[in-house]
Symmetry: C2
Subunit: 334 residues, 2 copies
């Protein structure tokens, strides 16, 4: 050992300690994609309050239920709901078996790539497309179709798989709540069986904690083997006033925290708040045209009306500005 | 210390060790109310198989889903479904507000205490009684009514609260499965909101893991406060071919173990078995007239038809004999 080695060793140790401290500091912030600000503060303060034993706001572990809208809250929803893009691709794939679609709306517009024309047909048009592409097969067949599509389809703007179009700050929030013994649920207007094949892998939310819209299914024996057949009949629309109904039906407890981004989430937040005690209601606001999209009151998808903004202010719901509150939106950002 | 004290101390130590060993032996058997026999063996062998890593039958923890019927499987169902006894008491309580019931079936029979007359009205009569007593109030009001009833009502034969009419061997089975990282669900033809107020306390099964029959609910604001109103309209019947539908809707995964006791559970067991791999299907057979009740093919409640028994044999479903397989049925037995 040369003279001076001890000094070198000391430098290495100091460098190591500093690197470790930096790592620990990062690890110590489970919400590292959130900028310091009112939204992050609201989350941290709420969690601290409800998890502190002997505090008046303490909530027992089984009652720590948090519900999340999906489209526009956990993953993106532009240029249109991803499930609609799935349905579009399915219409194209199934079109050879349906020559009548060429002259039949909304299929005709859809096959011409005229999405504006499709959206003009309103909810009825969307329901027809959903039924044509989501019913008539078994639940197992539908699940496989969703998985196959997600494995190959790419988002039209970013070129990324749809399952990468998820918001990193929200993934951190889900993990942070679960670390604090919350049970996290999805409560979405989207199709329950469209979400379940991938939510466990992408969000850590198992199928039994996914609530969504559904069509009816029927049990039958095919060649002696039981199957569930998906019928072209609406069972439940898990949107707006349907969300508290879906929460009650699937969860049977009232959430203490709820997260949404549009008028479809209004009643879920009202229902959550009305439970009394410490509650956290948050709305993601899409105000970042550069890194994501900017839309709100005028948008047909993910409508954030002025009335909703007014209610948020009046009720002290926290509005998350994607532009100001999130350091990073997608994990794939440079 | 007198001479000979050491000997006394030694005796105390030996006695202590023996007492401890006996206690440990009891603690080591999580299914101590089950007699050694084919039913207990089937349970233990199945659990060992699916929890042994690197075994071909290993099942990952999230996929360890077990579903239990309630009436006749977890708690008793004689002299009739307890929910029907609840409805009977509710009809009596509400009768002063409904003078027309005196001449209107099935209420007339019910108010005269003629339960045979009520049951002769079949499912339609039961549905009418259920609607009259289960709809028209908010979900919170109904929950309170159920809790109040359970706090005071007594079983007509045993004089015990209904929540004590639960089968001790099944409580042990639920706990044993959960110790082995199973998620336990109720999948019952009974009302989902009749069960949820007490399943967590009595069975350790939280509300979000209860699947049952339901009526529709509607979200509305009453004096500015959100409520869910129970409507006199069937939403879902979670029985027979409805059980796989309910499982798919609420759980979104196929169980690997299912437990029932009647023709209402047939399709749940078929659906469970059809998943392939290691599966456990069991049916409780009520064959103990002395300690519980003996009924089966001829019973209107908890029908265990000859066809079901034949299918159980053919499919190697395990039939649990309450008489032979259970050392003790209720915890309150002497």
């Amino acid at each position: 050992m040369k003279p001076g080695s001890n000094k070198h060793i000391l430098i290495y140790i100091v460098a190591g300690v500093l690197a470790f401290a930096a790592m620990a500091a990062r690890a110590a912030d489970p919400l590292s994609s959130w900028r310091e600000g009112p939204a992050k503060q609201a989350i941290v303060a709420f969690v601290a309050k409800v998890t502190k034993e002997h505090s008046p706001d303490f909530v027992s572990i089984p009652e720590r239920i948090a519900t999340f809208d999906n489209d526009g809250t956990l993953w993106a929803e532009q240029p249109m709901y991803f499930q609609l893009l799935f349905a579009l691709d399915r219409v194209k794939a199934l079109a050879p078996q349906h020559p009548e679609w060429k002259d039949q709306e909304p299929f005709a517009s859809l096959l011409k790539g005229d999405m504006k024309g499709v959206l003009e047909g309103g909810e009825k048009a969307i329901a027809e497309i959903v039924m044509a592409t989501h019913a008539g097969m078994t639940t197992a067949e539908f699940e496989q179709t969703v998985k196959d599509w997600l494995a190959t389809a790419k988002h039209p703007k970013t070129g990324r798989p749809y399952t990468e179009m998820v918001y990193k700050p929200m993934l951190e929030l889900l993990a942070y709540l679960r670390e604090n013994h919350f049970k996290t649920f999805i409560v979405s207007g989207g199709g329950i069986e469209f979400m379940r094949p991938w939510t466990e892998k992408v969000y850590g939310i198992p199928p039994e904690q996914v609530v969504g819209s559904s069509i009816k299914t029927k049990y039958e024996l095919r060649d002696g083997k039981p199957v569930l057949v998906r019928l072209p009949e609406i069972n439940f629309i898990d949107d707006k006033a349907g969300k508290p109904v879906g929460i009650n039906s699937h969860i049977g407890r009232r959430p203490i925290a709820a997260f949404g981004n549009s008028v479809g989430d209004q009643q879920m937040l009202e229902w959550t708040q009305a439970g009394g005690g410490a509650r956290l209601m948050m709305l993601v606001h899409h105000d970042d045209a550069e890194r994501e999209w900017a839309y709100g009151a005028e948008s047909k998808i993910g409508t954030f009306s002025d009335a909703l903004m007014a209610e948020a202010k009046q009720q002290s719901w926290v509005v998350i500005s994607m532009k100001n509150d999130w350091k990073r939106i997608f994990a794939f950002e440079p």
